[in-house]
């Protein structure tokens, strides 16, 4: 039993699984060479940091990641997991790229990850699995979700949230209709339902493996759709409502919008409440240096920047240089970009190591920011 004396839940009986299989490479030029989970976000993080930090801060001590393509930069970012306190003798971080060689394998989609990593799941000591993608951005811990799951005795518990203002990015999400006491009545794509499934859910490991086997035997290719949603009547599925700050990012549009949203002090303080909650790869940048000529307003600025020019309503990642007379507006500028004197950028998303030469002018639209691939000199 996981319930011990006096309401102490042993969250170390639950492992984390970040399943990237069915996430699209949504960010055009920025996802040519990296998966969405590895896209830089919010000035110093990568998309996956939020989910991974939530798991780490929940005292989940073992996390596995399913990934199929473009995972090199993800691996570079995550390293041994030490920066998330996940380089452990017991548990730790397991990145599971598709390196398998079973000629009899008939599994498809994310089911092939489960199938080919069956040993891994069977060997582990966890009784429960918390499954998540990387596109739900939030700052939380999963203790209460887990307790809710145990208390209701459900087969599966989904983390849901409500967006009063429905945005285009919510169209791609599964909407939840809840019956009495949190029990899930239906899972649809109803564009008007504001109750959104976050992609985070808890399931007993033995049930997970059972459903995986059924799906594979039936030539299915999507564990959640085919194993859970399709069995809505057979399984008892609970929802747990999360009401903290969150956003969903699955397109250039939502990436840009949700980035800019963080310039609002209230959103910033909500997403980054609790000080050092969101963990990321350790850097070694000096504090950002503002010269006598700098003019910076309403912006998010990482360390290692040197700012001599003007920056407004923008996000600067680590080590960006904005030279004298340069102007950056409504833009996202990634690591180690250099904006030379007199250049002007507006509504631009710029991947890392780009140099914008003297007096260059680039301007995208708010509805369609101009995305520039890495290591260019323009």
């Amino acid at each position: 039993m996981v319930r011990l004396l006096k309401g102490v839940f042993r969250i170390d009986t639950m492992m984390g699984l970040i399943n990237l299989e069915h996430e699209h490479d949504f960010l055009n030029e920025l996802t040519y060479f990296r998966c969405g989970a590895a896209v830089p976000f919010a000035g110093r993080f990568r998309m996956i940091d939020f989910t991974l930090s939530n798991m780490a801060k929940s005292n989940i001590s073992e996390v596995a990641i399913f990934t199929r393509n473009k995972y090199r930069s993800l691996m570079d970012h995550l390293g041994s997991g030490a920066d998330w306190d996940l380089d452990r003798r017991h548990g730790g971080l397991f990145i599971l790229p598709p390196d398998w060689n079973d000629p009899t394998d008939i599994s498809k989609g994310d089911l092939s990850h489960f199938h080919n990593n069956r040993d891994y799941f069977e060997r582990g000591k966890s009784d429960y699995v918390l499954i998540s993608g990387s596109q739900f951005i939030s700052n939380t811990v999963y203790q209460q979700l887990f307790e809710h799951h145990l208390e209701t005795g459900a087969d599966v518990t989904l983390l849901t949230t409500t967006y009063q203002d429905l945005l285009p990015e919510h169209n791609g999400c599964i909407k939840v209709k809840v019956a009495e006491e949190g029990s899930v009545a239906s899972l649809t794509n109803d564009p008007k339902n504001p109750h959104v499934f976050s992609g985070v859910y808890v399931i007993r490991k033995s049930l997970l493996l059972e459903l995986v086997d059924e799906c594979i035997a039936d030539y299915k290719n999507h564990f959640f759709m085919d194993g859970i949603k399709a069995n809505l009547n057979r399984l008892t599925i609970q929802s747990y409502h999360y009401d903290g700050y969150s956003s969903i990012i699955n397109s250039v549009d939502s990436y840009y919008r949700q980035t800019m949203a963080l310039l609002e002090t209230k959103s910033y303080k909500q997403l980054f409440s609790d000080g050092e909650h969101v963990l990321t790869k350790v850097g070694n940048q000096a504090p950002t240096k503002y010269s006598g000529e700098s003019k910076v307003t309403k912006s998010l600025v990482a360390t290692g920047c040197v700012i001599d020019g003007e920056v407004d309503h923008s996000v600067l990642f680590r080590g960006v240089k904005v030279s004298e007379g340069a102007v950056v507006k409504n833009s996202v500028i990634m690591q180690r970009c250099t904006i030379e004197p007199g250049a002007r950028l507006e509504n631009v998303i710029m991947d890392k190591d780009v140099t914008i030469t003297k007096d260059q002018v680039l301007k995208g639209a708010k509805e369609q920011p101009f995305v520039i691939a890495k290591r260019r000199k323009i």
Binding site: G43, N284, P287, S291, S294, T297, L300, V301, L316
Partner: protein, 379 residues
């Protein structure tokens, strides 16, 4: 396992002249430069100079310091065979005693040094701000075939009386050491960085340990004895930026130096990086009303006020209408609205109420602000 060279980093100083800054903190652990601690400069020099065998001698209020250093991971000093070792005072079969002076601290850790059977011992200090290649120093030592090499820096002639001054021949051989001379013959000041041939040094340390009246100090006892014996002591001229941050004034000055455009020491120098622990705060949020000039700002800050010639460590908030001049705000400081600070060093987690005015005039020592003196110093 033999190593050519062992580095001993002296980090046990009390730092009395830093007042409140070292009340519960070893001097090398005092925050510096917006994200570092003072000792990071010496440790980063070790990494960049490829000095991989480093003993760190600690004694005074070491809890924060030890936590910061750990096994030396940020400086790549977590190594299998050698790496970083913290050397605190300890007892043996016949009892123990505290480190009585710099020389005493070394000889009490003879067992540590001899484990590596080194040719050379480098002694450095954990409370200076500088970028220096100890390997170049070592090569100089070898070229001169010296017994001892002392790193020196030229100081203005009018300040010679504040330093240990070395008098040398034209080829930099040292024939005299004068502690704070009134009429200096030279303006070459010792930086407190020494290379010794270990075998030679060990003899002197063992002799010195027997002397009841000795201060067991390199500058006061060991080096004078070596000069008296006519050993080969050479000076090595260092011409980069170097600052002993031993007083509140110099600690503040070193920060103002960091803001100069043309300083030879740069925190953004990719060829000589300064390493430290990284915090996990979000990027700084610069608000609509903020004005930032000649300032350094770290992660997790929210700035709505006006900064000039100031340094914000991580997680500092400065609210609207506040003006911060020539000040240093340690991690977690909260500055309310319409506050005025000038020449103030605010210690960790201090909250300054709306409308406070705290300023030191140009001739005064900068004010160190803690919760204990907050009311007293507000104008």
């Amino acid at each position: 396992m033999k190593k050519e060279c062992v580095t001993m980093l002296l980090a046990g100083g009390v730092g009395t002249r830093l007042g409140l800054l070292t009340k519960n903190l070893a001097k090398p652990a005092v925050p510096f430069g917006g994200r570092y601690r003072i000792i990071d400069f010496a440790l980063s020099n070790c990494l960049n100079s490829r000095m991989h065998t480093v003993g760190v001698l600690t004694q005074y209020s070491p809890l924060e310091l030890h936590k910061h250093i750990g096994v030396g991971k940020p400086w790549d000093l977590d190594r299998m065979e050698d790496g970083l070792t913290i050397l605190s005072p300890f007892t043996e079969k016949d009892g123990g005693s505290w480190y009585l002076g710099t020389a005493d601290a070394i000889i009490k850790n003879k067992n540590y040094v001899e484990r590596y059977d080194p040719e050379y011992l480098i002694v450095i200090s954990g409370d200076h701000i500088y970028h220096m290649d100890y390997d170049a120093l070592l090569n100089h030592h070898k070229e001169k075939e010296a017994d001892v090499t002392i790193s020196v820096v030229e100081v203005p002639w009018k300040e010679t009386s504040r330093f240990g001054i070395l008098n040398t021949t034209d080829n930099l051989r040292i024939y005299e050491f004068e502690e704070k001379p009134t009429n200096a013959k030279s303006n070459l000041a010792s930086m407190g960085i020494y290379i010794f041939n270990w075998k030679v040094l060990k003899g002197y340390l063992e002799e010195d340990a027997k002397l009841q009246e000795s201060k067991h100090d390199f500058g006061q006892n060991i080096l004078p004895a070596m000069i008296a014996d006519n050993l080969q002591l050479y000076a090595y001229r260092f011409d980069g930026y170097w600052k002993d941050v031993g007083t509140i004034e110099s600690y503040w000055e070193a920060h103002m130096d960091l803001l100069k455009e043309d300083l030879s020491l740069s925190l953004n120098n990719n060829e000589w990086r300064t390493y430290s622990h990284d915090s996990n705060f979000a990027p700084q949020l610069i608000e609509e009303t903020a004005v930032l000039h000649h300032s350094l700002v770290n992660n997790g800050c929210i700035v709505s006020g006006k900064l000039d010639h100031s340094i914000l460590f991580e997680n500092v908030y400065v609210d609207e209408g506040s003006v911060i001049n020539q000040s240093i705000l340690h991690p977690g400081v909260r500055v309310g609205a319409n506050v005025f600070l000038e020449r103030v060093i605010v210690q960790e987690n201090v909250t300054i109420p709306d409308g406070s005015k705290i300023a030191a005039s140009k001739n005064e020592e900068p004010i160190v602000l803690s919760n204990s003196n907050l009311k007293a110093v507000t104008i």
